[in-house]
Symmetry: C2
């Protein structure tokens, strides 16, 4: 069923109007009177609606309300040191499909990309749109937030607030992800990975001190955009999603 | 350590010459006399070598020979119904990093991309180069072969020769990947996924009859290029890689 995200307040009434981007999207999809679609508040609540009238704006009537059934049990946050632009966009799209709760990016010592404030505002807007679009297509009940934090230290503090915080490091060989996930409470999980050039040893030590488990993702070197998606897939599996 | 793939026969002698693409690559990397590099035969055997002389061709002396330590225990074959070109290239690159044994592509009912013979030959050459390059960068000891098979039926027959053959289908909700992997011998595994428009119900039934387990990858709809990489990540995890 086609899915649109609307403001939570729009779902309060029995009639909902689709306008702006949503109306344009509905037009592209050739939505017709009588068709059923799913409207989601992007926060876990959704309504099945019938299209009552089409045109510049679409009028829909609410048939049933329900909590979203497609959100994973574990809230997994991706912490990715800021890579070059297209890689982060790739990760936002894929991590949204795979069920990430949020995508957090931050500077680390070897980051090449260091956007200024204005460019960052534009980027964040663009990144959030990618998350919305991927959430619609994959049938998410929640739009993952894309968040920028100002420093590596702040990212560590934020990340360790989770039940389990894990950092992946190519020079770690002894501790496997399997060890880190065994016996851990996994209601909320933070998965941290480095930029193109990797994390510095000092940064890894800092993370360990802050409470991160430092793990390997195997004996092959994964690109910076592959590692978080590999780890996220596994955590979803390990928490019983599929 | 920088890695080059050479012909297996080149590794028989105590002196190895790098020429052609490898020499150009060595030049880009500014390889110097005295530096150590790893030469792999792309088939699981490798040599640590010292650079003896640089120039148009590079002369290397073999220091030690050893079996590659970076190959996964399980041989996992990706069977991906042919998607549009850039998506397959993406999957070849990432699946190589993640440790795939081979990448097999084939036509299915809803495939949009249907290259003719000549275009297919060119594509296969290009795809294989992507695998080589990803294998070098990720430190693989083996270059995954990229294979095209002519029909869906042939893909099924080839796929079920593995210890465990699994097909992922968005309309399957009961059987999880966890169930399919439990108690299974996982020396060789085939993971089959559909094209952009998904597999037809009839095709899924055929696969089931041929011996494929039909599984879900969770309650979110994954893009055709996301599904095989998610499944591959999980099988690597489940077979003890990390």
């Amino acid at each position: 069923m086609t899915r649109f995200f609307v403001n939570p307040s729009d779902l309060a009434a029995d009639t909902v109007i689709l306008e702006g981007d949503n109306a344009r999207h509905a037009k592209v999809l050739r939505l017709r009177e009588g068709e059923e679609v799913c409207l989601s508040d992007g926060n876990g609540e959704e309504c099945v609606c019938r299209v009552e009238s089409v045109g510049e704006r679409y009028t829909l009537s609410v048939l049933t309300r329900r909590p979203s059934e497609s959100e994973p049990a574990a809230k997994v946050s991706i912490y990715m040191a800021m890579p070059k632009a297209d890689k982060l966009e790739h990760v936002i799209q894929k991590a949204t499909e795979l069920g990430a709760y949020e995508i957090v990016t931050f500077p680390s010592a070897r980051c090449i990309s260091r956007p200024d404030d204005k460019s960052l505002r534009n980027k964040l807007e663009r990144w959030q749109k990618i998350a919305v679009s991927a959430a619609e297509q994959s049938g998410r009940g929640r739009i993952p937030r894309v968040v920028y934090v100002n420093s590596y230290k702040e990212a560590l503090m934020r990340g360790t607030a989770a039940d389990k915080a894990i950092l992946f490091y190519e020079n770690e060989h002894a501790t496997t992800l399997q060890m880190a996930l065994t016996d851990a409470t996994l209601g909320t999980v933070s998965l941290l990975t480095g930029p193109e050039g990797g994390l510095e040893e000092k940064e890894v030590a800092e993370a360990r001190e802050a409470g991160f488990a430092v793990c390997t993702l195997g004996r092959r070197i994964l690109r910076c955009e592959t590692a978080p998606l590999c780890a996220l897939s596994v955590v979803m599996y390990a928490t019983g999603e599929f």
